[in-house]
């Protein structure tokens, strides 16, 4: 991916390769906006752009109490962006970390890109954030210089205070109003060199930790919107089934029930408490029309995907031997800890929704469309709320649409919650897939080619993906379809001769969504598993084979790191083995070494060693958390958690049967080592999934002596 998405090679300050603009926004206290300057020639970069109110990247405001409020078109879902952002602002502005607040913006057309995904937040925002904060600092210093009638460059800043050599001091809060009126900063507004960073790069605890541990953090359903009524929806047994007939006579008479509202997707029950709404939901008698997938079960889907692969292509010239690997991946539910949920108030021709959204503009558009307001979407206000996990699921906003419809129907605010079984059985899934990988060998064990064909049900990409990818790539892309995204994202980092990777989009009427690392969660994983198979075939050590064939020095460096730290090749008892795998994506590189014990029947992960090169590690502690979490995600979905389809219905309904890793399954040590090849900011959120899954699979293959080809590995079903 790195090859395609890197816009150019000029590294300014060694940190951000793109230009960005800052300007002062009209406000009583100092407020600075910033944006990427992709389309702006360098000469103009100092001027506020025409129509400065459009295409914002972010803004920050210095308040009279000295607090700095940064507003971003991004959503905190656990990935730690608010902490990393606050660190950058505190660093450039020379203030204390606890003086910085970070807020998620509501849906607004002014935001150039308002999508939280593609591991892009810090890659997009580091440059503009640093520029905005440095600009703010320069103006605060200038305001103090004017007030004290001294030369600005003699002044110093620290901990949110400007001080003069004669001992005079003024807090940022006291200067915030004057600074808003400074015409031109009298000191440099350039961000400081990375080498002078004091806070950025230091392991730092989350700024929201205290709220979380005291239970003070508010998710959508915890908000105190007066009179908002608990609401649940009865949903069809099959995916996308519809209501044929509903008898709500007994449900309506149950205690606490306020209303029963039929929706296209099901039947909503509004009550005084969720407990009563759930009880009344169970009392509804509904005849359903089966959904479009009701003729399909796992075996049919697998057959269709296998059929989608087609015949083998002709091998390259001089091929003496072809080895083939076939892999099956299951549908996956994102299973965010907080189920889909939304608060909505629709009244007097206006709608407000409170939603943990990864794409608030899409939420706004979808709610407007549901309400028949396509032409006036601004009547819908989307308040972006912290979410209890996202992983790609919250690009979709069914709960917001349902909540808005119910609120309008009953003329009162509602809080709508998907029950856990709704969340498992409806909505959108990481698609299943089938893969055929062919490695072509020539005389003397030379690798002449690598051909990967993946049959994957069409992935419904979020609507903001196009904009975001365009900005990442630095060029306007065609409509971003599955095929375009596949081509952009799937790269093989090996010198394996003639390499081709192809997507076969298979139409299967089961709703899909991207999942942590999108296609790489299948394509990248199976490639790395098959590299080990190739090593077995060639009778070489899998680390040695990778070292020899990898085309990226960053990958070689992280591989060497895990091999050393994890003592690759150390002697282990029978039934215990190590596995490795690598990945370069999102401008970052990573390697995993996993040790697994298969003597007990069920594989047990003993140890995970990770080495990652994410360029400048803004918050090493947060990066470590993401990589540890992604490893657990990978363990869960590789070993035991997968979704089964029975006649168009999802079998799993909770964490009882969707077997996510628990405390007892996870090793007490998941080590993370950071390798830093340069100061670019690489993505982290999705980075840690694919090579963790592949290294685990490789370890199991080595321990058992046979390569797993169907996931999740412990699936005893069908």
């Amino acid at each position: 991916m790195a090859d395609t998405l890197e816009p150019d090679a000029t590294v300014s300050e060694g940190l951000d390769r793109r230009r960005f603009l800052t300007w002062v926004m009209a406000s009583p206290t100092l407020m600075i906006a910033a944006r990427l300057g992709l389309d702006v020639p360098e000469a103009e970069a100092a001027e506020p752009p025409e129509g400065a109110t459009t295409a914002l990247s972010l803004y920050l405001a210095v308040q009279t109490d000295g607090r700095v409020v940064t507003t971003l078109p991004r959503t905190e879902m656990g990935q730690g962006i608010t902490t990393a952002v606050a660190m950058l602002v505190a660093e450039e502005l020379d203030t204390a970390l606890d003086q910085v607040d970070v807020r998620s913006a509501g849906a607004d057309a002014r935001w150039a890109i308002q999508l939280t995904g593609l591991s892009s937040t810090m890659r997009f925002l580091t440059g503009p954030l640093r520029a905005a904060a440095a600009e703010a600092r320069a103006r605060l210093v200038t305001a103090a210089a004017l007030r004290w009638r001294v030369l600005a460059h003699t002044l110093a800043t620290s901990h949110g205070v400007v001080s003069a050599p004669d001992g005079r001091r003024a807090g940022y809060g006291e200067l915030a109003e004057d600074a808003a009126r400074v015409l031109l900063p009298a000191v440099s507004s350039q961000p400081r060199p990375v080498s002078r960073f004091k806070l950025v790069g230091q392991p730092t605890g989350r700024i929201d930790a205290r709220d979380i541990v005291t239970g003070a953090t508010r998710y959508a359903l915890d908000l105190d919107i007066p009179e908002a009524l608990p609401t649940v929806v009865a949903r069809p047994p099959t995916l996308r089934g519809t209501v044929q007939f509903v008898d709500d006579a007994s449900a309506r008479t149950m205690p606490g029930v306020v209303a029963v509202v039929p929706l296209g997707t099901g039947v909503a029950v509004v009550a005084r408490t969720f407990g009563q709404a759930l009880a009344a939901r169970a009392a509804l008698r509904i005849t359903w029309t089966p959904g479009p997938a009701s003729a399909l079960s796992d075996a049919d889907i697998r057959t269709r995907l296998r059929d989608g692969i087609g015949p083998r292509p002709l091998p390259p010239l001089f091929t003496t031997r072809t080895i083939e690997g076939r892999f099956d991946f299951p549908y996956l539910a994102h299973a965010t800890m907080e189920t889909q949920s939304c608060l909505a108030r629709v009244q007097a021709g206006q709608a407000e929704v409170w939603l943990g959204a990864q794409d608030p503009k899409y939420a706004q558009r979808e709610v407007a469309r549901a309400l028949g307001w396509e032409l006036t979407p601004w009547r819908v206000t989307v308040h972006t709320i912290r979410a209890g996990g996202g992983f790609g699921r919250r690009f979709f906003t069914e709960a917001a649409v349902e909540a808005a419809l119910v609120s309008r129907a009953i003329g009162r605010p509602v809080k709508l919650m998907w029950s856990r079984d709704d969340d498992m059985r409806h909505g959108h899934f990481r698609p299943a897939s089938h893969h055929r990988i062919l490695a072509y060998l020539g005389p003397g064990g030379r690798v002449l080619g690598w051909h990967h064909r993946a049959a994957i049900p069409t992935v419904e990409l979020p609507h903001g993906f196009g904009d975001a990818l365009t900005a990442l790539a630095g060029e306007v892309l065609p409509k971003v379809t599955s095929a375009v995204f596949f081509a952009l994202s799937q790269k093989l980092p090996y010198g394996f001769g003639w390499v081709s990777q192809e997507l076969r989009d298979v139409a299967i009427p089961i709703p899909t969504a991207s999942f942590r690392s999108v296609f790489t969660s299948q394509v990248g994983v199976s490639n790395e598993v098959f590299v080990d198979e190739l090593a077995r075939e060639l009778q070489v050590d899998p680390v040695a084979l990778r070292r020899e064939r990898l085309t990226s020095n960053r990958l070689k460096a992280v591989l060497d790191k895990v091999a050393t730290e994890g003592q690759w090749g150390r002697s282990l008892p029978p039934g215990v083995a190590q596995g490795v795998a690598v990945l370069e994506e999102w401008d970052s590189a990573i390697a995993h070494l996993v040790e697994v014990d298969v003597t007990g029947g069920t594989p047990r992960v003993l140890r995970i060693v990770i080495a990652a090169d994410v360029g400048l590690p803004i918050n090493p502690k947060g990066i470590e958390a993401q990589l540890q979490g992604a490893a657990v995600d990978a363990m869960s979905t590789t070993l035991s958690a997968g979704v089964h389809i029975d006649a168009g219905a999802v079998r799993e309904g909770s964490f009882a049967d969707y077997r996510w890793m628990r405390m007892k399954h996870v090793p007490s040590d998941i080590q993370v080592h950071l390798v830093r090849s340069d100061d670019r900011v690489g993505g982290v959120g999705e980075l840690g999934y694919p090579s963790a899954a592949a290294a685990l699979t490789n370890a199991i293959a080595r321990a058992r002596g046979s390569m797993p080809t169907r996931f999740p590995i412990l699936d005893e079903g069908v």
Partner: protein, 159 residues
Amino acid sequence: MAAHQFILNGQTVSVEAPEDLSLLWVLRDVLGVTGPKYGCGVGVCGACTSHLDGEAFRPCIHPVGGLSGREVVTIEGLGAQGLHPVQQAWVDEDVAQCGFCQPGQIMAAVALLKKNAQPTDADIDAAMSDNVCRCGTYVRIRAAIKRAALLLRSGAGGG
């Protein structure tokens, strides 16, 4: 509809609610106590974990009837002055990601440490494996429990 009287976070409360309404909804929807989260409603995820008479329990499967006079503590009632040592350990180890499971995790950990001041890895596995963390923070939860055990033994706080 009957009135139910019990002690919540140190205060006597009285609520009108049907007998069979689960305590989770009494807490969240009637009393506005939102620390305990809904993660499954059937007792398999641990997101609602709180304490009943000092023991970890799951309000989502516990009807409010029969609570009379008993003592319920939610995350809000922990560490009345400042942070409880377990909360402090959670901050120090930087455990949370999305945070949604963490009130339940913390309440489960407090209950464990009350019974077992020096839990082994196996004890932690046994006590904590019914609390799901979708974000995968288990490594840090384990470290935080061990840190909290030290804090508690050294007499810090005591919550």
